[in-house]
Amino acid sequence: MVNPVDPNKILLTGENSFIRLQETEDGAETTRASHWRILKSPSGPGHVLFLQSDVTDGEVRIYSDNIAMTRWLQATIESVLYPAFADETIPVIDSEFGKVGDGINHWTETVDSLEESLQLTWYDIGEPFILSAAPGEMQGNPHGVYSCLIPCERAQLTLNGETAAGRPFPEMIGSHKTSTACLAWSETWTHPR
């Protein structure tokens, strides 16, 4: 029997759903939201939302219920994915996280702080697929990842009731059609020992 065990070390496991919006297909990104639900990391479980959007006037905001996990995630993962989210001088806004939906028709993640309320909603949900990349296989990324990606044709982000401009667009992973707005469930990041 083939050894079923991945030889790499596990960095984290959980979810990393995202929304990236643009006004036009080749236009600039007007919203980038990276939402993490972490079950296991060296700094424990928790949630974090990294957000840069027209509804934040282009500023990066960070919302979390576990600042230790957030700083670890910035140093280890977001520094590779999107350096603007890795700036540890940005304060972390203490928040509560909730979720609602059926995962077939719609899904909403809610983030509430003392002064702000955010909703990230995905709908027109497509067929899920598994992304499986060994460490170093993704360009510029020393880590490996397993993820169950569920691409969505439509998504919406609101901050205190104000809706972010733009919409998701199709994109490709290899020859597989996906979206700039995906639920990313059952996600595990690995690193060589």
């Binding site: 991945d6 496991t13 296991k40 990349a133 169950c148 290899g174």
Partner: protein, 193 residues
């Protein structure tokens, strides 16, 4: 980059943590508990616990908050693992499911009906690892899997405060040190198209 996308159809994604207790290494299993948290499946989202134990006098009990998920799991998943859990004449007890813990030191899944409370607790964890296996890679396993296993050296299951006898036993998966009691997070199952 095309080969980073698994070509198979995703059937479900979620979690399938388990507790199997025995009086001694290699001894008869006195408790078998299979706990599912489903984010995506043909039966929708939900939870199910399949339980056979000395605390149920050897009876199989099924608890769920989505009977459609429970029956689908019996048909497609438990039929690969443990036929006693696939009997669809066994009634499904409507239950509420909650989780608590830090995933570093301990984790508890709680299942409550109006008459029963089941508590499943894992602790004394060893290093987690990812397993992956393609559909039909093993006889009797038409589905493939990705899962993040967090093995526990110790576990406890109680039903209305009565603790099941037996202990977790060490196990091997490929070249990894594992256990008969594992958290199994970020788990996806696929079948060939």
């Amino acid at each position: 980059m095309a080969d980073m996308v698994d070509p198979n159809e995703v059937r479900m994604t979620g979690e399938n943590s388990f507790i199997r207790l025995a009086g001694e290494q290699g001894g008869t299993e006195t408790t078998r508990a299979s706990h599912w948290r489903i984010l995506y499946s043909p039966g929708g989202q939900g939870h199910a616990l399949f339980l056979q134990s000395d605390v149920t006098d050897g009876d199989v009990r099924i608890y769920s908050d989505n009977i459609a998920v429970a029956r689908w799991l019996q048909d497609e998943m438990e039929s690969m693992f443990f036929p006693a859990f696939t009997d669809q004449t066994i009634p499904v007890a409507e239950a509420e499911f909650t989780a608590s813990g830090d995933g570093i030191n301990h984790w508890t899944e709680t299942i409550e009906t109006p008459y029963e409370t089941v508590s499943m607790a894992w602790h004394d964890f060893v290093e987690p690892f990812v397993i992956q296996s393609a559909p039909n890679a093993r006889p009797g396993r038409p589905l493939g899997i990705y899962s993040t296993f967090v093995p526990a050296r110790k576990a406890q299951l109680t039903l209305n405060g009565e603790a099941a006898t037996g202990t977790a036993q060490s196990d091997k998966l490929g070249d990894a040190v594992s256990s008969t009691c594992c958290l199994a997070w970020s788990e996806s199952w696929m079948k060939e198209r």
